[in-house]
Every structure is written in C-alpha cells, then in structure tokens.
C-alpha cells in the first residue's frame, strides 16, 4: 500500500467518467463514455465536457489516451480510446471505499434507488 502516494482526490464528474471507463473496458472512448453516463444517470453531458475531464484525468496520470484508426461511421475521424491506468484504478477504488464507508448505516435514509 505504501508504495504509492495517496490517490488524488477525484471530482464528482471525474468519478463518473472513471467509472464509465471501468464499465466499458476496451470499448471506452468519448461517445461511449458520454452515453454510458447518460444512460445510467440521465445526465445529458456535453461531449466537450467529457474531453475536458479526460484531459484532466490524463494529466493526473489516471488514464491513458490512445488515438485509434479513422472510421467511416465517424465521417473518417479517429477515435480516442481510453484505458484505465493502475493509478486510475486505485483512485476510483479509493473513492468507492470512502463513499461506501461514509454511507454505511445510512441506507435507510437514502433508500436503495
């Protein structure tokens, strides 16, 4: 545990994006991330906001961005694939644990969805 510095704190939106990346696995890129979040949370996000966040996550060393091949369904544009780096996994896991610790015993209060 102590080999790594304590994971960086994540913003709300960064958590959503990281969780979407975890869920999507190899299929994570801008459009799928946006749709995943929208489908699950109902939040219709601007695609540009997703990229801003991805940029920030990349800068923090939590994800790796990789440019793919041009695709005809995208009008010849390329995708930017996202893969989770170990630090990213640790950060989201850390956030998850903190969240769970904090909600423990409050299930009654907020209901289970």
């Amino acid at each position: 545990m102590s080999r790594h510095p304590p994971p960086e704190a994540l913003g709300d939106f960064e958590q959503l994006v990281l969780l979407a990346v975890v869920r999507l696995g190899d299929d994570a890129y801008g459009a799928t991330i946006r749709r995943e979040i929208e489908a699950r949370t109902g939040r219709d996000l601007a695609i540009s906001a997703v990229y801003v966040t991805l940029g920030r996550l990349e800068a923090k060393g939590l994800v790796r961005l990789r440019v793919g091949e041009p695709s005809p369904t995208r009008g010849g544009r390329r995708r930017k694939h996202v893969s989770l780096l170990p630090a990213g996994r640790r950060a989201i896991a850390h956030a998850y644990r903190q969240f769970m610790v904090m909600v423990d015993g409050l299930e009654e209060e907020f209901g289970s969805r």
Partner: protein, 888 residues
Amino acid sequence: MSDVPDLEAGPGREARIWLEVASLRMPAAEREFAVGDLVEELADRRARDGDAAARRWLRVHALRCLFARQGPPAYPNGVAHTPRSHGGPMSGIRRDLGFALRLMRRTPLVSAAAVLTFALGIGANAAIFSVAWPVLGARLAFPEEERLTFILLSVERNGQLGKNPISPGDYVDLLNAQSFESLAGFNMFASQRNLTSQGEPQQVRVGTVTEDFFKVLSVPPLAGRAIDARDFEPGARALVLNERAWRRTFSADPNVVGTTVRMDGDAWTIVGVMPAAATVGTIDVDAWSTQPIDRATARRLRSYYLAMVGRLKPGVTLEAANSELASLMRGVASAYPASNMLPSGTPILARAESFRERLTGPIQPVFLLLIGGAALVLIVAGINLAALQVARNLARRAEFGVRRALGAGRSLLVRQLMLEGLVLSVAGGLAGLGAAALTLGGLSALAPTVAWHRVSPDLTVPVVLFTLGLTVVAGLAVGLVPAVAASTPGGMGALHSRGGTASRVTARLRTVIVGAQVAVTVLLLIAATLTAASLVQVLRVDPGFEIDRGIIADVRAPGAQGDGIRFFDELVTRAEALPGVTRACAINHVPLGNDGGGMTFVAEGKTDAHMQGALPMGVTEGCFETLRIPLLRGRSFQRQETESVAIVNESMAKALWPDGEDPVGRRIHIGLVAGPLFTVIGVVRDIRAAALESAFTRQVWMSASRGWPMPERLILRTEVPPESLARPLRELLGQMNPNLALANVRTMHDIVGEATASRRFVLVLLAGFAGIALTLCAVGIYGMLSYQVGQRTREIGIRVALGARRADVTRTLLGHLAVGVLAGVVAGAAGARALAALIATQLYDMSPTDARVYLGVTLFVLVVAGVACWSPVRRAARVNPVVALRAE
C-alpha cells in the same frame, strides 16, 4: 473549419452546421475526436429514434457544447489545456480576441465611448470619401480617358487664363490641329424643348453636337447608334437619348430606337441611346441632336457658344498639343486680327485640358479641405482613444504584471493590446459606416453640382474597402501606443506599482496628447468659422434685384419667333391676372444662374478695338419692376418697342463711355462696328448675373418685342407664398397651349440657395468636423483629468495633509494640462495660418487670417477647456486627506 470534412456518408448540411457550432469552443486538439463522437452518436440516434429526434438532439447538444463550462484547466498555470503548440498561433489570437471581447463587455461604458469615438472619426472619413470618390477617384466611362481633352479659347487677362467658348470660325480652324486623332464640337448652351409625345408635356434639355462628337468620346451606345454624318442631311431630325431620360421618360423601352417623338411641334426620330456617363466632362443633357456648322460661312458668325473635345493621338502629350494649338491660333489671329486679337495686341489662344483635370481641377481645393478636415477628426479621435487605452491599461497594471510574471512575453502583451484596439476600431468602423450610410441622404441633398457633375455620394465597394482599411489602420495605430507603453519594462508591467504618483513620462505624454487635440480642434474651428463668416458675407451681398417673393420658371415658347413674343406677352398678361401675382415678366437668363454666353458691343463712333463684352438680356415690358431693379436714367421698355432700343447697366455704361457722358440717346453696335445699331434709352443698376460672389457683370438689356434675345423664363413677383403659385401657373400654361411644359419652378430664394450650395456643403461638413473634434477634445480633457484626479487622490491627500493649499493642488493638476492646451491653441492657429491659402479658396470677402476669427476661436476653445476641467478640479480641491489616506 476543416475539422468537419464534407463526406458523402456524413451528416447533412444542417447537421454539419451544428457540428461546427459544437466544435467552436472545443480545443483544437480534441475537435476531431469529439466531433467524430457526435457523428457516430447522431447516426445511432437516427437509427433508434428517427431523423427528427436525432437532429433535435444534435441542436441541443451543440448549444450545450458551446455554452458548457469547460472547468478549470488541467495545469494551474493555464498553458497546458489550450496548448499553443497544438492550436498554432491562431488559437492564441482567438483566445486574445475572446479576452478583448470580454473586456469590452466588462466595461461597457468605456467601451461604448471608445466605439463611439471611433465611429465618429471613421464615419466622418467614410462620408467624405463617399462624396469624393465618385468625383476624384472613379474612372470615367471613356476608353483611354487620359487621351481625352477639352478645348476652349483662352485669353490671358491680368496674368489669369480665362476660358471662353469658341466661335464657329475658330472651330473650323482648330479642326486642323494635328495633335489629335479626332476633334469635335458641341454647343455649350443646351436648349430647353417641349416634348409632347410622352404623356404630360415636359421640358427636355437638348444638347447639340458635331459629327464626330461621340467618335471622340468613344462611348458605345446602349442601343441604336450615336449621332453621325447621316443626321446632318437636310431635313433629318435625329435624336440620341441620354440613358437617364430613356429610363425616366421612356420607361427604358428597349424598342425606342427608330420611333418618332414630337418636340416643339416637329417629329424627331430617336436613333440611339447613350449611357448617362457620356455626359461627364461635357454638359448635362437629356438628349443630343445635331449642331451643323457651315465651314464656308463659319467665319462670318461672331458668336461664341462652342466647346471642343479632342482625342490626342497616341504618344502626343497635352503640352505638345497645347503648343500646337497656340501656334495655330497665333496664325488665326494674324489672319483675323479684328476677331482674334485683343485691343492690346494679345492673340486669343486655345487651350486643351484633360477631362480628368476639367473634372477635378475646380473642386480639388474643396475636397482637399474636406478630406483634410475628416482626417483631422480621425486624428483627434485616435489620440483620444490612445489616451483612453493608456489610462485603462494603467488600471490593469496588476493584470499585466501577473501575466508577465507567469511568463507572458512582451510580444504577447503587445499583441493582446493591439487586438483590443482592433476590436474597438472594427466595432467603431462598422458603426461609422452605418452612420455614414445614414448621412448619405442628407449629404446628397446638400451636395452641390460641381461644374457639370452632380455629386452623388454613395457607399460603393471602394468606399467600404477604404473605410475598412482605415478602420484596421486606425485600430492598430491606436492599439500600438498603449501597447508599447504598457509593455515597456518599468512602464506599466510591474506588479508593485498600484496607483501612486504619476511618472514624468506619462505626464509629458498627456501634455502632448492634450496639445495635439486642442491644436486640431482650433484648426478645424478656424476653418469652419471662416467658411461660415464667408457664407454670411455672400448672403449679405446685394444681388441688385429683390429676392423675396420672386418665382421663376422655365418656359419655351412654341413655333416661330413672332409667335414666341406674342405667346410671352399673353403669358405675362394672364400670369399677372393670377391672384397673388403683383407683377410678371419674361426673361432669357436666370439672374445669378448665368453660366456665360456674353457677346460684344461697340459704341457708335468707335472702332472694333473698343468692343466691350456684355450679357445680352432679353426681356418683356415690366422686368425692372418685377425684379425691382432701379432705373437710374432714361426710361424703361414699353410693351411694343418700334425702334431698336437697349438699356445698359452702370458697368456697361462706364465701359462704353469711360468719360462719363450720358449714355441715353447714344447708340451701340451689336457685335462689331459692322453690326446693327441700337439706341440706348436708359441706364439701370448692375445685377449679379453669374453668382453672388462674382463681380458685377456688364449687361445690355433689350426688348424681346424686337424678336431677340428670346425669353426662356417667366418671373413673377407675388404677395403670397411663391410655392402656392406653381399649380395655378401650370394650369394657366396648359390652358394656353397643352403642348407646353413648365419646368424648374423655383423661388428666387431657391436660386440663391443653388448659387450658395457649394459653400453650404463645405460649411456643413467643416462645421460638423469641428463640432466632433471639439466634443472629443472636451471629453478627452475631462476624462484625462478625472482619471488623474482619481489616480492621485492619495497623493493629493498627502499634500493637503502636509499643508498644501487648494490652489497649490489645482496648480499641480492643471500645470501640464494648461501647457498642453496653450501649446495646442498656438499650434492650431499656426496650422490654420499655414493652410491659409487652401482655406482662402473657400472664402469670399474675408481674409483667411482674420484676427477676430482667430481670437474668437482661441477664446472659445480656452473656455471649453476650462469648462471641461471644472468638475474634476473641484473634486480634487475637495479631497479630504483623512478619507483619501484611509481609502488606501
């Protein structure tokens, strides 16, 4: 915008636009991927929800992308997320532009003032340019216009070259000139004719030209053909329409060529239509017909009414042509000394000038003055703005300091500030262009007819380009000064200097700024005041006849001469019976509106060497009473004169009989000694025949009852508002002869207005410029001082706390400013003095260095400057040291 390529498989046009919108605020590096995502998702949604829903989603999403908060940048110093290395230099400029726009929004009042200032400066220039361009800059419609020349006789008198019409005899001799490829003549005096075949009778101005006239001009006809040799056959009545008349009177009928129209009772065949531009440089007419000149008998006619146009042979210069014309005319003068040599022995020469020179020569000083005035307004505006920007930047010193500390280079700061200037100037330039467009109507109404050419201001492409160019230059210039000032090390780019005492450099800069503004304002005010005083002088001139309640209208009598006189007699009698008319008469020339056309007279018993030029005035009975011209000696005309009689004016009496003999009862020859004799029956006072500011011209009045000169106008004196008579007069003419048209119904005041239109135009523009300059200058001084007081409140507080008196505070504040204002006044007066020669071209009976004007303007500007200083100085004097120091 190549990030959204147009692919066949891609989205439709609307979608592409929305994708563009969505990508507007995306970092360039991410655009491809994000837009690709949108395209992909759009296709999915179209498959799932249908086209309409997918499109709706895209619209909403695009707007969301546009307005989405982008969140804090990835790195705290703000360079990483919009990396210059990714977006290229343009993305930096885009960012600066965004910043400049935000700055404008953040300080709306200051920005509005700046935009307004720019708008005034640029608008003034756009307006002037729109007036000047059609006259000075636009190309003429003639092919190889530089070879086109205009030829008149030229007589040197008192060192000045006069320009006089050509006689048929001289015309025939001038045709021999070898420097020209082609030469032609035209009658300088167009005639008014009654056109009756196109609905209501109307008057048309018909000019007459010789065979080769249109060949010289080389303008192709719009339809049909030009006047040519065929039309000079006996019995031919050919008419070439001017495009304007063709559009107005013939509704641009494409089949007009070959048709017959009725004019003054005769049938005329329309053979062609010429473009309106063909009148430029010669005379303005509605149609052209033939001007026959019989070469065999031309020398016998001693009337001067022609002008010539010539196309130079390729390679022949104007100078060469003129020296040929001079030697040719010297030969003519020795062959016909009686007609072509002045009594002093000076031969009458001919001179060619280029069309361009003829077009621009007489009006160049006017436009130089006006363009100069507009440029000065822009300079004042620019100085004001530069000062405003410098002041505003002083308040932003902390911001610049932070930027520099974070590594922004000097060039980056300069770029940003220049861009800010540019944004303001572009907004101002557009507003100025709009303002100029709004003033165009007024300008057109005011614009005088310059020479033969109606000035018609217009926002043409060159005008718009000029304005935009000026806008960019002005914006960069205005941005540069503060930019350099702000980016100089120790200038304003320091973190530590927040307010405090003003540096010596900026104080000196302020003195210069104020001085320059005041100088320009004083210069413009002096020019405007002199012009205004001149106009007053001109309007105060006694034209020699009464202007109030006079009305004048053009009427061309029908048929033969005898009919014409009977017609005018009847018209005058019936017009006098109209209610409100006290007196009426018919006359040939418009008083004040005459543009030449004199002839010679010789006193009986003298030789041709003593011939005197005068304007022949043909009138019916009662004209002196109608115009209220005092009869000084002898008697007035009767309704029917049985003898050949004439009345001379004072100037002509002096010229004919310089020894002061009584002219009444003496006789004069018309033309030369060989001409018929007329008995002088009276002497009247001089009237100004050409213009108010012209010298009194000599006039010989003759009774129209003798058949010549034939009147062409009706003059009424009324006791009701003259405008109310236009209708009854028209009805009266219709009753008398339904084929006659009444044209140009004007009051005498209208005629004075026309005679002074050019002066008014110059005055209104100069006064406008001076007013703008004065306002900008006053606002500038006020703003600068207010700002200074605000900045130096602490300093003033300390001074007062240390025992400075109010007067000391005021003196410190006003010291530099007063130096600037005084230096500006002196410089402005000196500038006006230096430009006296140019200003003098617009003055009448007024010295361009009139001390009263200089003194008055100086005092006025000092008072205005004082008023502008009043409130800030009072505020400074009331600074409470305790409050001032605590505030810091």
